[in-house]
Symmetry: C2
Subunit: 263 residues, 2 copies
Amino acid sequence: MTVGEKGSKEIEIRRVKDGRRMDEKDHVAVESPLTIFFNEQELVTLLCSPRDLQYLALGFLRSEGLINGVDELEKVTLDQERSIVYVYAKEQGNLAEKLYGKRTITSGCGKGTVFFHALDSLQSKPVISALKVKGESLFTLMRALQERSLLFHATGGVHSAALAEEGQILVYSEDIGRHNAMDKIVGECLVRGISLHDRILLSSGRLSVEIVLKGAKMGLPLIVSRSAPTSLAVELADRMGITLVGFVRGSRFNIYTHEERIL
Amino acid sequence: MTVGEKGSKEIEIRRVKDGRRMDEKDHVAVESPLTIFFNEQELVTLLCSPRDLQYLALGFLRSEGLINGVDELEKVTLDQERSIVYVYAKEQGNLAEKLYGKRTITSGCGKGTVFFHALDSLQSKPVISALKVKGESLFTLMRALQERSLLFHATGGVHSAALAEEGQILVYSEDIGRHNAMDKIVGECLVRGISLHDRILLSSGRLSVEIVLKGAKMGLPLIVSRSAPTSLAVELADRMGITLVGFVRGSRFNIYTHEERIL
């Protein structure tokens, strides 16, 4: 059993079809733990697809509000063998208190804890963006997302996400967890200096309140998925000035909030 | 906007089809926070479908190893309006230390934190069970699961799970989170005194390592899903003596581990 480059692994299974049992090889998505140390404190262990682990760690820290940019960081090192990312901030400080105060556990695929009560953020400032996008562009972008998600086709167990602008995908990621996929994008944007302002988030997975929350924190004005949103995701998007589009399939989609951005 | 009995909510959306925009009503799955207090300590806030909240709270506590049975409990109360379940154990004790030690965040839909390193449990004892099930029974059971999941049909965003024996579903649950759906079953079994020994877990969702972990802790010998397992789920099931069956669709399925239980 070797881990493929695409994050899948070949294993031996018995396939049963019409009552007959056959020995076959199959691919399953690799799930593995990633532990993040922040300023020498063990922060959290995520279960994720073992790719882009530094992006994931940085995106997680950014999404949780522990860092704002790479300029705050001293050093980031990956211990590939033990699957640990060490992040050192220039400014030391015990952040554990802040973290362990309130915890909301998610309903979503992908890492579960948001370290504050989800609804607190309803007090946050709405996203301001003049972005307008043609409806047809959404089909093109979601098709591009699907074409990129090779891993999903191989294993049936992986979510994909992308940062896009009208006409093209800028950053692509995939992970067994929806939230991890999004954090990998956030992390890659931090490292590569790509702005999320006026940009579009594409997701293959369900739009739960946490995805919208992450989007709101990043100032993303438009979130698009081929799946359904939850009630709380719709409420939050409405309050935060985010356009939420779901069920992009064939020649149709649903606009749940702030339709003014879709031309 | 009123919350339906089935955990879905009617909202107004714009449906776009072939370039035309129409005002329509649609149903989305309700996602709402549930806070669990254990012995007057705030333990965690889950995002979940607002049904069977007491079952969810008890199942969560059981899955996390904080309680073993209802006989240990003094009282369980639900504050429906504020969405809080208060659980009081007969034996008081500060369990926070135990909990806040190590945290693994999940890849899966459903609540995310397991309060210990997932891989620690590989030291646990394997499941001992003489259960054998005919392959055809799995089709029947998965069809029964699908028929019960009315909410899923309405909103496209909900997972279902069931405890079954060959021939029938015993306990059924659904939730926007896969893990929540499983914990609701664990909780209901605790309250109703239903044994999980020699029984089958059915799931509509992906089989991540956490689902297998929960199954192992409950002594479940057979876990069946219409979706894919992850690599770590397969490894854990193999070590823990659990039969893992995935991709039950039409007249076929895959056996990943311990095929001896499938006749």
